[in-house]
């Protein structure tokens, strides 16, 4: 009895799969390169993570290098700069989330209210632009603008501030870093919210209007609930990158003058691992970062599932 049940189940599963294939085969074929990409560049390299537990020697290779257990983890956790880099990472990341996360949402909501289509398109396109400029160029611009006699330093001095190298000052470094991050990403980040906004049923607005809701009430009771799911998903994903503050921008902007506030785990690891060729060490730190990030992702996902019934998985 049980056997025959599984057989029919199997058969029907095969059947459904076959049907599914018939219907969407081009989509599946289309996704092959992506799947290959993930296997080749994301899953296969995971085996390389073992070097975090080995004394990796490039000549001996992955397999012949000796096992050293948690040596490099210990080295990292007991390192002189561990607490400072961890703290900097968390602070910069928190600033990024607190300031950087709401901006695209607000921007999308504002865009959504614009009725002149031409103007809307222009604003949108202009806001995407910084996203497409190479990081090196952006950082070149930032250092230039925030240096003595740079564009922004001069502007600040016109309003009574001091004309100096703001990028080299401890007090301003994080603000510049996060502020420019927001500027660079808010247009691009708003796309997903705009698409969610366009999915809200027009009838809801009509009904709300008939019930006497003004623009503000409509925003609060129709628009925001309409994109709440998207916001939560994006927040969960964002929290999953809490420790992944990118090093590219920081190493392009910092200097020994600002190490104290700018040195994050990834920039520190870059100096340690890449400049000094300590591959195992950087692998260990990378693994630590990923594990913490995963924990954050899973926890926020759980919390969200419990209270809002929205979750990634």
């Amino acid at each position: 009895m049980a056997v025959s049940k599984t057989v029919t189940q199997k058969k029907s599963l095969m059947h459904t799969l076959g049907k599914e294939w018939q219907r969407n085969k081009y989509l599946y074929i289309l996704s092959i390169p992506i799947i290959v990409y993930f296997i080749m560049f994301k899953y296969v390299p995971m085996f390389g993570l073992t070097i975090a537990f080995k004394d990796y020697n490039i000549v001996k290779g992955l397999f012949a290098s000796e096992w050293v257990g948690l040596k490099y983890f210990k080295e990292f956790f007991t390192g002189i700069y561990f607490s400072r880099t961890l703290l900097n990472t968390l602070i910069i990341s928190a600033m990024n989330i607190v300031i950087g996360f709401p901006v695209p949402i607000i921007f999308a909501l504002m865009l959504n209210e614009i009725t002149n289509n031409k103007f809307k398109k222009v604003v949108q396109t202009a806001s995407y632009l910084p996203h497409f400029i190479s990081m090196v160029v952006i950082c070149g611009m930032i250092t230039d603008f925030f240096s003595t006699d740079g564009l922004i330093s001069v502007l600040i001095s016109k309003f009574g501030g001091e004309n100096m190298t703001y990028i080299g000052e401890k007090d301003y470094f994080r603000a510049i870093l996060v502020g420019t991050d927001v500027w660079q990403g808010f247009g691009w980040g708003s796309i997903i919210y705009l698409s969610a906004l366009s999915g809200i049923d027009e009838q809801l607005y009509e009904a709300a209007a008939i019930d006497g809701a003004g623009k503000w009430k409509q925003l609060l009771h129709v628009t925001l609930p309409g994109i709440a799911n998207t916001i939560i998903i994006m927040l969960i994903l964002r929290l999953g990158q809490v420790l992944a503050v990118g090093y590219e921008k920081i190493i392009l902007l910092y200097s020994p003058q600002t190490y104290e506030v700018a040195d994050v785990i990834s920039s520190y690891t870059y100096r340690m691992g890449i400049l000094n060729g300590k591959y195992s060490y950087s692998a260990a730190v990378g693994l630590f970062q990923s594990v913490v990030n995963l924990l954050f992702l899973v926890t926020t996902n759980k919390i969200s599932k419990k209270y809002t019934e929205t979750s990634l998985f």
Partner: protein
């Protein structure tokens, strides 16, 4: 709809094929096994790569092929990725016959590369290389130094190194606008007090940032001209046979005090830590600054002079004497090149089937003819002998297609950057440095060469164990030192805390352990 499906299918197909090709594209260059063909891995300077595909198109290598009958198949890593590709090459264990790289920095030292079975020791092939052998034994005044830097700690020759010839090693130093000195009736500054006086006068006459430059040299270990006046280098140096660390020595505090004073008085660039080359350029060219902490001969003096030549013929930037405390002293810490470069050493790999022949080919670079080839190219093509001296032809100095001297020389020689064999021949420098100010500067700085040499760290080899400890100490140490030195200069940390800084170096950053390792390495070096 059908059309759309077809298009997407084609797109997918193209993608798949592209992925396959991307996976297996760089497997083409393998020696064809011909006894007279050798593969040779070496980087191709980016400025040359825009003109040629490989060194086979460069005149000196064409000449060598004609002379020896040996064909070289060059393998050039992508510019800027030399180190990554070198590491990949090692990991693949699929070696070419010869590899030109920095074997000193091979993890564990060149001896380790021999023990790992990557390269071979040249000792048993020395008879195939009479010129190299003579160079290393007694042919030159510097032979002893050449040999020590070309052998491992156990005395084995590990490769054909890049040697410097002549006496002009110093390639940069403080530079100042001579026309402004004359304008304000000032003498060329010699002592630190002179400098303070000159910079203050400049400042009072409206030059907003009298001296600019980058002292981030602290982080890459270059000597600091002004620290030298206090008898210390920026980092590790030799004092007799003792390895010392600049910031730990007496004079360094005084140096920092001077920098702090100049910083507070606005005599040096307040952006000196975060400076970018473009900012320095514009300050010098616009006249906001009138002196450079570190004026390199080619990239600073030569470039600025060329830029200002037409506009203002009186504009006169020239190297100043290395500063000293008291007139008559000699600054012993110039910014100079080693006698043997750490980079650009040709090693013969274990994959080479006929090492003797490869060694014979390399030996050509160490003869008198080789010296001429590397520095001047082929006679009649890129230079002619005039009164017993090589003189570049006009095609090199004033190229008809508008190439710079640098680019034109690269098409014929390897004079313009480090190369195996002999580098920096005197007549090359005299002609390469087109401006009188440049020649005057390097002749002026020649006085610092001999004492500078005694302080310069030679090519030291770390054992694997030593290297492991060193890299662990190094990264944190450099972070701390760079950061704290800055705080001392800009005043956010009082110099009263300097002793505490040294204590921290000793207690937390294991500086003495590091020093001891370097000392051991130096002892091994000196006893071979």
């Amino acid at each position: 709809m059908k059309k759309f499906r077809l298009t997407s299918l084609i797109c997918v197909g193209i993608l798949c094929v592209a992925v396959c090709f991307a996976g297996c594209s760089d497997k083409a260059a393998v020696s064809d096994g011909d006894a007279n063909t050798f593969t040779y891995w070496t980087s191709l300077p980016a400025s040359l790569a825009t003109h040629v595909q490989s060194y086979n198109e460069v005149a000196m290598y064409q000449y060598l092929e004609e002379k020896t009958g040996v064909h070289i198949e060059f393998i050039h890593p992508a510019a800027g990725q030399e180190n990554e590709q070198f590491n990949l090459l090692l990991a693949s264990r699929d070696f070419p016959d010869m590899i030109e790289h920095s074997w000193v920095s091979y993890s564990g030292g060149a001896q380790k590369a021999i023990d790992d079975g990557v390269i071979i020791a040249l000792d048993s092939y020395l008879d195939n290389a009479p010129n190299f052998k003579a160079t290393m034994t007694d042919k030159y005044e510097l032979s002893e130094i050449y040999r020590r830097n070309s052998t491992t700690d156990s005395g084995q020759y590990f490769g054909f190194t890049a040697l410097n010839t002549g006496n002009y090693r110093v390639f940069g130093g403080p530079a100042i606008r001579r026309d402004l000195l004359e304008k304000y009736n000032l003498e060329m500054p010699v002592t630190i007090d002179d400098w303070t006086n000159v910079l203050t006068t400049f400042k009072n006459n409206g030059i907003s940032t009298p001296m600019t430059g980058m002292i981030s040299a602290v982080s890459n270990g270059s000597e600091l001209p002004f620290a030298g006046a206090f008898g210390v280098a920026g980092r590790w140096y030799l004092d007799g046979d003792t390895v010392k660390y600049g910031p730990m020595e007496d004079g360094f505090k005084d140096y920092l005090a001077l920098m702090n004073k100049w910083y507070n008085e606005g005599l040096i660039d307040r952006d000196i830590a975060t400076n970018q080359q473009t900012l320095i350029d514009s300050k010098i060219v616009n006249g906001d600054s009138a002196a450079l902490v570190q004026g390199y001969l080619g990239s600073a003096l030569g470039r600025y002079l060329a830029q200002k030549e037409a506009e203002d013929p009186n504009w006169d930037l020239v190297g100043a004497d290395y500063p000293v405390l008291n007139a008559g002293d000699i600054n012993e810490f110039p910014t100079m090149e080693e006698d043997v470069r750490k980079t650009n050493t040709i090693a013969i790999t274990t994959a080479c089937k006929d090492p003797a022949k490869a060694v014979e080919w390399c030996d050509n670079l160490y003869s008198e003819e080789g010296l001429m080839l590397t520095n001047f190219g082929v006679e009649g093509k890129s230079y002619n002998m005039v009164d017993g001296k090589p003189v570049y032809v006009d095609e090199i100095l004033k190229n008809s297609e508008g190439l710079s001297i640098n680019e034109a020389l690269q098409l014929h020689t390897r004079a313009t950057s480090a190369a195996p064999g002999f580098n920096q021949a005197e007549e090359y420098l005299n002609q390469y440095y087109a401006y009188e100010q440049q020649r005057e500067s390097f002749k002026k700085w020649e006085a610092n060469t001999a004492p500078g040499r005694t302080h310069k760290m030679p090519n030291l080899f770390a054992t694997e164990e030593e290297r492991d400890i060193m890299t662990t100490i190094e990264a944190d140490l450099n972070t701390y030192v760079n950061e704290t030195l800055w705080n001392f200069i800009n005043g956010s940390e009082s110099l009263d805390n300097y002793d505490k800084f040294i204590e921290t170096l000793k207690n937390q950053f294991r500086i003495e352990e590091y020093q001891k390792i370097l000392q051991n390495q130096y002892n091994r070096y000196i006893s071979k």
